[in-house]
C-alpha cells in the first residue's frame, strides 16, 4: 500500500561534550553495533544524543531537551557541545549537526550538499526533506515512529499490548494519507452523483405537476361558456336591486330633510312661546303684587294707635308712660315720613285708583287664560317634536340598513364583473396553453435522458468506491497475513516453539473498514494481557513484533532500517540467550542496523550476536565507553575484570 521509508544510521559524532573524555566519531555498520559501558557512563545518553540529533526540539514524547543533556555534565560554560548524525532515508543521505546547548541545527548536508540558512530555516528545510523522503504526513509522525517503534528503551515500554500505540503505528505505516484522500474523494464523488440524480428526478416531478395544472386549466376553459352567460344575468339582477335601493334611499333622504325642517320650525316656535310665557309671568307678578297690596291692610292698627297717643298726649301705649321728648320726636319723625318708633323711612304705597285696580283684575284673568293656552300649545309642540325625533331615528336605521345592503351588492357585482372579464379572456389562452403543453412534454423527455445519465454516473461512482474499499481491505489483509507470518518466524525462533498472532478487528473512526490489532497466541491461548506471559517472553515478543513490522516495511521498500535495543540481555533467562541472539542475528541478516547497549552482564549474549563477524570487524562494531566515559572509583577498581571480559567477547572464537 503506502511506501513508508524508515531511516538507517551511518555515523554518529559527539564533540566537546564533557560527559565523555574525548570526542567520539562512531561509524555504524550494517548488522549489530554495541555500546559497552558501566552504569552512568553514558550509554543511554549516547542513544538519546542520536535521537536528539535526528529529531531536535520537536514535542513527541518522551521529550528530549538540551537541559537533559546539559544536566549530565559538570563543565557547562567553556564548551560548545555538538552532536552529528549521518543517516539515510531511502536514497537520500542526511548529515545533521546540532548544538546540544540550544538544540539548533548548525550544519545540515543533504546528499553531501551543505544547506546555508538561518537556524530556524535549517530546521524547516530539514523537516521538509525528512517528510518528503520518508513519506510520512508530518515530521511528528516520523519522530513518533522513531521513538516508539525503532527504539526499545530501558523503560521497557511495550507496543504489543498497548492498543493505542499499536493502532497508531499500524495506521501510520500501512494506511497512508494519500490512500485516505483517495477513499474520501471517491466517497464524495459517489455522494455528489447521487445528489445530482435525485435533484434531477425531483425537478422532473415538478415539471410533470406543472404540466398537469396547465392541462386542467385548458380543460376548464372549454367548460366555461355557460358560466359566463349566467354571470352576466346575475350582474344585471344585482344592478336592478341596487337601483331599487337607491330609489328608496332618495325617498328616505327627502323625508328626513322634511322632518328636520319641521322639527326646526317647532323648536323655534317653542322658544317663542317660552319667551312669551316669561313675559306673561313678569306681567302677572306685577299685577299680583298690585292685588296683594290692595287686599292686605295698608297700615297696622297698633302703629296708628301708638302714633295717635304719642302725638296727641305724649303717652306710650305699650308702657303707659308720658314723655314730651318722645312726643316731639314722634311729631318730627312723622313730618319727615319716618317711623315714629325706629326713625326708619316709611314705605309709601302709590294709591291706585279703583278703576285701575279693576283693570288689573281683568288683566290677571286675561293673562292667566293666555298663559294656559300658551302652555298647552308648548306641550303639544313638545310631543310633536318627540314624535318627529322617533320617526327620524327609525328612518335613519332603515337608511343605514339599505346602505349596508347596497355596499354588499356592489362588492358582489365587482366580484362577478372581474370573474366575467377573466372568463371572457380565457378562450384566447387555449392556444397559449397548447404551446406550453407541447414545450413541457419535450422538456420532460429531454430531462429524462439527463436523469438516466446522472443515474449511470452515480452507479459508476458507487462501484468505483466499493472497488476501492475492497482493494484496500484486500491489500491490508494480505499485508497483515504476511505480517503474522513474519512475527511467527521471529517469535518461534526466540521461544523455540510456535507462536501466532491473533488478529482482532478495530474499526477506525472515519473509514468503512477495520484495522486489525494483534495479540500473541501461545499454547493455543490468546495472551491478551501483558501479565499473561513471563517477563522475558513479554520483552522479546515485543521485539519480535517490532522486527516483524520493520521486516514488512523492508519487504516493500528494500531499504534497511535502524533499530535501538537497550541492554536486551539484562532480563533474559539464561536458557533463552541463544534463541534471543539468534532472533537478533536473523533480523540483521535483512541488512538492518541494530545498536545494542550493554553493561557486560551477559558475555554469552554478546558473543552470540557477534559470532558472525571476524575479530577485526568486531572491534569496529563496539564503542567502548569504559575508555571514553568517566569511571567511578568502584568501576575503576573493577576495570581489569571489565577489560578481561571485553577481550573475551571481542576475541570470540579465536
Amino acid at each position: 500500500m503506502k511506501k513508508i521509508i524508515l531511516p538507517k544510521l551511518n555515523r554518529v559524532g559527539v564533540a566537546d561534550y564533557d560527559l565523555y573524555r574525548e570526542d567520539i566519531s562512531f561509524t555504524i555498520h550494517e548488522g549489530v553495533n554495541i555500546i559497552i559501558g558501566g552504569n552512568g557512563l553514558g550509554k543511554t545518553t549516547f542513544l538519546n544524543l542520536i535521537i536528539f540529533g535526528m529529531t531536535g526540539k520537536e514535542q513527541v514524547k518522551p521529550r528530549l531537551t538540551s537541559k537533559y543533556f546539559m544536566d549530565r555534565v559538570e563543565n557547562k560554560r567553556d564548551l560548545f557541545p555538538k552532536v552529528t548524525v549521518e543517516f539515510s532515508i531511502g536514497d537520500t543521505d542526511f548529515l545533521v549537526r546540532r548544538d546540544i546547548r540550544t538544540g539548533d541545527i548548525d550544519i545540515l548536508e543533504i546528499n553531501d550538499k551543505g544547506v546555508v540558512a538561518e537556524a530556524d530555516e535549517l530546521e524547516a528545510i530539514y523537516n521538509k526533506n525528512v517528510i518528503e523522503c520518508s513519506n510520512f504526513g508530518s515530521f511528528n509522525n516520523f519522530c513518533f515512529i522513531l521513538k516508539s517503534l525503532l527504539y526499545a528503551g530501558e523503560d521497557r515500554k511495550l507496543i504489543l499490548w498497548d492498543l493505542k500505540t499499536q493502532t497508531e503505528v499500524l495506521g501510520l505505516l500501512f494506511v497512508g494519507k494519500d490512500h485516505i484522500e483517495n477513499y474520501f474523494g471517491l466517497l464524495k464523488k459517489a455522494r455528489d452523483a447521487n445528489t445530482q440524480w435525485r435533484h434531477a428526478v425531483d425537478d422532473n416531478g415538478k415539471l410533470e405537476d406543472e404540466l398537469k395544472e396547465i392541462e386542467i386549466k385548458r380543460e376548464n376553459i372549454l367548460e366555461r361558456e355557460p358560466i359566463v352567460f349566467e354571470t352576466k344575468n346575475k350582474i344585471r339582477d344585482i344592478e336592478n336591486e341596487i337601483r331599487k335601493i337607491r330609489e328608496n334611499l332618495d325617498i328616505i333622504e327627502d323625508s328626513l330633510k322634511e322632518k328636520r325642517e319641521i322639527m326646526e320650525k317647532r323648536a323655534v316656535e317653542i322658544d317663542k312661546i317660552s319667551e312669551d310665557l316669561e313675559n306673561l309671568d313678569e306681567k302677572l307678578k306685577v299685577s299680583e303684587l298690585v292685588v296683594h297690596q290692595r287686599i292686605y291692610p295698608e297700615r297696622s292698627p297698633i302703629y296708628e294707635e301708638a302714633k295717635y297717643q304719642l302725638e296727641n298726649y305724649g303717652i306710650c301705649i305699650f308702657c303707659r308712660s308720658r314723655s314730651d321728648e318722645a312726643r316731639n320726636m314722634a311729631t318730627e319723625r312723622e313730618s319727615n315720613k319716618r317711623c315714629i318708633v325706629c326713625g326708619s323711612p316709611l314705605k309709601i304705597s302709590q294709591e291706585a285708583p279703583e278703576s285701575s285696580y279693576s283693570k288689573t283684575l281683568g288683566e290677571i284673568d286675561e293673562l292667566s287664560k293666555s298663559r294656559q293656552i300658551l302652555e298647552k300649545r308648548r306641550e303639544e309642540l313638545r310631543f310633536e317634536i318627540e314624535d318627529i325625533r322617533r320617526a327620524i331615528t327609525s328612518a335613519k336605521s332603515e337608511e343605514e340598513g339599505l346602505r349596508r345592503e347596497e355596499g354588499i351588492l356592489k362588492l358582489r357585482r365587482e366580484e362577478l364583473r372581474s370573474r366575467k372579464e377573466f372568463l371572457e379572456n380565457e378562450p384566447a389562452r387555449i392556444t397559449e396553453y397548447d404551446l406550453m403543453i407541447y414545450n413541457y412534454i419535450n422538456l420532460i423527455e429531454y430531462r429524462k435522458e439527463i436523469i438516466a445519465q446522472h443515474r449511470e454516473a452515480w452507479e459508476r461512482a458507487g462501484e468505483e468506491f466499493e472497488m476501492e474499499v475492497e482493494r484496500m481491505r484486500r491489500e491490508l489483509r494480505a499485508i497483515m497475513d504476511n505480517f503474522g507470518r513474519k512475527f511467527q518466524d521471529y517469535a518461534s525462533k526466540f521461544l523455540g516453539k510456535s507462536c501466532e498472532l491473533e488478529q482482532r478487528g478495530k474499526r477506525m473512526k472515519t473509514l468503512e473498514f477495520e484495522l486489525p490489532i494483534f495479540y500473541p497466541k501461545l499454547d493455543e491461548k490468546t495472551r491478551d494481557l501483558e501479565t499473561s506471559v513471563s517477563e522475558t517472553q513479554r520483552l522479546f515478543l515485543d521485539h519480535a513484533y517490532r522486527f516483524a513490522i520493520i521486516s514488512l516495511i523492508f519487504e516493500s521498500t528494500q531499504y534497511p532500517v535502524l533499530y535501538f535495543a537497550e541492554t536486551p540481555e539484562a532480563f533474559s533467562d539464561v536458557a533463552y540467550i541463544k534463541n534471543i541472539a539468534e532472533m537478533f542475528s536473523d533480523f540483521c541478516r535483512e541488512g538492518h542496523t541494530v545498536i545494542i547497549t550493554s553493561n557486560l552482564s551477559s558475555k554469552t549474549f554478546l558473543s552470540e550476536v557477534l559470532k558472525d563477524y571476524g575479530m577485526n570487524e568486531r572491534k569496529n562494531r563496539v564503542l567502548n565507553l569504559l575508555e571514553l566515559g568517566k569511571l567511578t572509583e568502584v568501576q575503576e577498581k573493577e576495570r581489569t575484570s571489565f577489560d578481561i571480559l571485553l577481550k573475551e567477547i571481542l576475541g570470540g572464537e579465536s
Partner: protein, 219 residues
Amino acid sequence: MMMFDRLDEYEKSDFILFVLAATDEIQLGPIGKKQLQKVVYIIEAVSPIKEVIDDFLYRKKNYGPYSKDIQNIVNVLIVYDLAKIIEQKPFDYRGEKRLRTTYGISGTGKKVVRELRQYPAYEEKSKWIQKIVKIISLYGINKIVDLVYAEPTFQKVRKFHQAIPINETEKNLSVELMKFLKEISEGEFEHYVENDDLLLIDFFDFLHLKAFGGDNGVR
C-alpha cells in the same frame, strides 16, 4: 305706608294665613309656635307635586325644623291684626321662665283669606293646604312632632343648625318616597295617578307607620 314691598313676601304671608285659616275652619284649635313651624314644614315637604308653596329656609334645631321667616311673618301678621295671639302662658324651661304662645286667625285675617280665595290660583293653594291640615288633624296635632321626625329629608340631616334641603327637588326625599308610593300603587288602582288625595294619605300613613309601628292611629 304698606305691609311689604315684594310679591314673595306677600305669598309667604298668604301661606301662613291659609294655614291659620285652615286650623280655624276645621276647628283644630289654637296652634303653638313650634307646631306651626312643623305643619308648614310638612306641607312644604310634599309641595313639589303641586308646585303651589313658596320657599322658607329651614335649619335643624333640637326641637325639629325651624324657619326664622315663618316667625317673622307671624309677628307682622299679629301687628297688622291679621293673626292673633290666643294665649300666652308662662312656663319653666330648665329653670328659665318662658312663654308658651298659641296663635289663631283674626277677623281681618279671615276677610283677607276670603278675598284671596276669589282668585282661582290662590283658591287652589288654599284648598291644598286645607287638605293637608285636615289629614294632620286626623292623627291629632300632638302627633305632628313624630310625623315630622319620621320625614326622610329631616332624618337624613345629621348636624344641628344645618340647612334642610327640603326646597331642592332632587334632595327632597319625601318627593322620592311619594314617587315610589305612586309607582307601587299604580298597578293596584286604575285612577290612582289622578287622585293626589290618596297619595297624600298613603304618604302620611307611611310616616305614621315609621313613627309608631302597626296601628295607623287615625281617629
